[in-house]
Amino acid sequence: MRARMEILETSLIERIVDEALSILETTGVLVEHDDAFDRLVVAGFTGTKDNRRITFPRPIMEEALASAPSSLTLHDRDGNPHATLSGDRVHFVPGSSALRILDRKTGEIREPSSPDFVDYVKIANGMKHLSYLSTAFIPKDVPQDIADAWRLYMVLSYSKQPIVSGAFTAFGVPRMGQLMAYFRDDRQDLIDRPMSIFTCCPNTPLRWGEDPISNIIDCAEWGIPMEIVPVLLLGMISPSTTVGALVLHTAEVLSGLAIAQRIRPGTPVLFGGAPASFHMKLMTNPMTAVEALQLYCGYAQIADHLKIPSQAYMALSDSKFNDSQAGLETGMGAILASLAGINSVSGPGMLDYVNCFSLEKLAFDDEVVAHARRFIEPVEVKEDLPTQALIDELVREKHLMMSEHTLEHWPEELYIPGPMVDRTNWEQWEEHGSKTFKERAAEVIDECLEDYDVEPLDAALHKEIRTLFASTCSDKEVALPEFE
């Protein structure tokens, strides 16, 4: 069986879901944008224009839950199936949307640029244990009203892998949809063979502001899979207790899911989240706080109960640097996410409350992910029960290192980590150059860059995409960065 962790009894899950549906039916959500409000009314929701509150009758919710897919297969740039998100399959993806990077060469924390982003894509593309990519941070050398699509363009230029992304403005999704459609036969083909997941975050508590509500509607119209990611702060904008927080979290996710299903039934929606604790003294919001981790695991169980794929911001750290705290938080998050069966785990590479991205951390986290994946591999009988023959051989030979059984099974059973997890003894470590974490990370990263080999886009397509940027950017004279 596969290792699986549960923190909620089924009867409690049912009560939490029922309570969330009641809240949606009575309190509903606030839609803070007139056009979006009108679009939702046209789509069949009931709402009062005066207070712009939309409510969700049970039949609408039942219909929505029935039409939401339980599985999502992401396709690569060329249209080939790449990763399926369903059941208890776990995928890890770099964290997304940091404002800063930790420069691996200077140690400086600074604003990123497009060349930094190109490096990131090439390196992330070479990570062995991450399933697909994200638009990890925001380059500051392009106008910010096109930065969302610009990041997507750079990933598509340098990697074939699917992408977790999202729009920064109310009008961002259509441009990004158009960009992705260049890699498909038509819009329907983009729906049939999706290449991305877009993040849509409600404004807790129970509000949808202009940007996220526009994004969710646009994503549904374009058929772009989305992850609904409430950002509860326990004790501040959420009950401080786990059950109450799960009710609010579930209500917010299901409101987004219902809107998406109403616009386009069958649009893939992930039951996501980035909840955090609220630090009652520092007023910070640690996503790796132990009670927040409990909330992540709880909502993963609710998603599973509702047969909706899940997403979480885990396997990351709130620490500022790649220190012991970063190791603790990332490792704990990765293992818990794996045990909880979360389908898409966004986090590797991320530091400082999802504000800072580190390539060195990405290299380390790739190894953390490998450990987490190995831990949840099913425990099965592998020619070792009955065990008498193996014990006889062990007693006779005094070891099993040359046993047929060992030769057959050790390569899969005994995971040998890459250089980011140091398994040398002191003398071996000295013999191999006494390399520090930074030096080993540099070697892994340089190797990824050396081995990078992805078929480039053709020049005509680049030109077409750049024309799209120029025509939709607020700055018509914009000079976009050039890259290879």
Binding site: K398, H399, M402, T406, W410, I416, E427, E431
Partner: protein, 218 residues
């Protein structure tokens, strides 16, 4: 005509019975024993060593190849001894020191060393200085290898070193084991230290070369 490339490959794959048979056949064809050793066996082990270093193969595969090497050497050794040029078949007497019953690491070193062509006389665990000295004398060993797993038993090592030096035996002393460090080895007057089984074999080769050099120097 012996197919050395095939022999190397079979040795690499750990097919000890076939390697032994091919060794016999090569000698039966009248091939020179030193050539069979070098081109048939050592060349194969060289690839094993290289691939181990490059993480292409791991301990189990090395041990299987070592067993195949040992099978071939069992045929060649008497002839090499007869000719008096058996440099790689030097004998190592090894054991875990008195008071210590741990032998996993020591056994691994022994297997790896056999794979490199050494003859191993394994005294087992809980070995006294007198037992080491008697075995070195009896087998005309080039190297005495001592292992300890505990800080409470490694302190017996200097006693063995002292006793060996007092005996006047021409033998190099190598030490290893989890608590043992290069500094400790140096401090107690040992000639070599191996951090792990693979490096221990290299140390043995260096010690044999040093011993040969000291014997031939004027």
């Amino acid at each position: 005509m012996a197919d050395y490339a095939l022999m190397n490959q079979l040795l690499f794959e750990g097919k000890h019975k076939i390697v032994q048979q091919m060794t016999e056949e090569a000698l039966a064809e009248g091939l020179d024993v030193a050539a069979v050793l070098e081109d048939g066996l050592i060349a194969g082990m060289r690839v094993v060593g290289e691939d181990f270093k490059r993480n292409r193969i791991f301990v189990p595969e090395v041990l299987l190849a070592a067993r195949a090497m040992k099978a071939g050497m069992a045929i060649l050794r008497p002839l090499l001894t007869e000719r008096g040029d058996a440099d790689t078949s030097e004998t190592i007497v090894m054991g875990t020191v008195k008071g210590d019953l741990h032998d996993i690491g020591k056994n691994l070193v022994g297997m790896m060393a056999e794979g490199a062509g050494f003859t191993i006389v394994d005294l087992g665990t809980d070995t006294s200085a007198e037992e080491f000295i008697a075995a070195v004398r009896e087998h005309d060993a080039a190297i005495l290898g001592m292992s300890a797993l505990l800080t409470t038993t490694m302190i017996y090592m200097p006693k063995v070193v002292e006793a060996v030096k007092a005996s006047g035996l021409d033998v190099k002393i190598a030490v290893g084991g989890a608590p043992v460090t290069p500094e400790f080895a140096n401090e107690i007057g040992a000639d070599g230290y191996g951090a792990d089984a693979a490096s221990a074999v290299n140390v043995f080769k260096e010690l044999v070369a040093a011993r040969e050099a000291s014997r031939t120097s004027p």
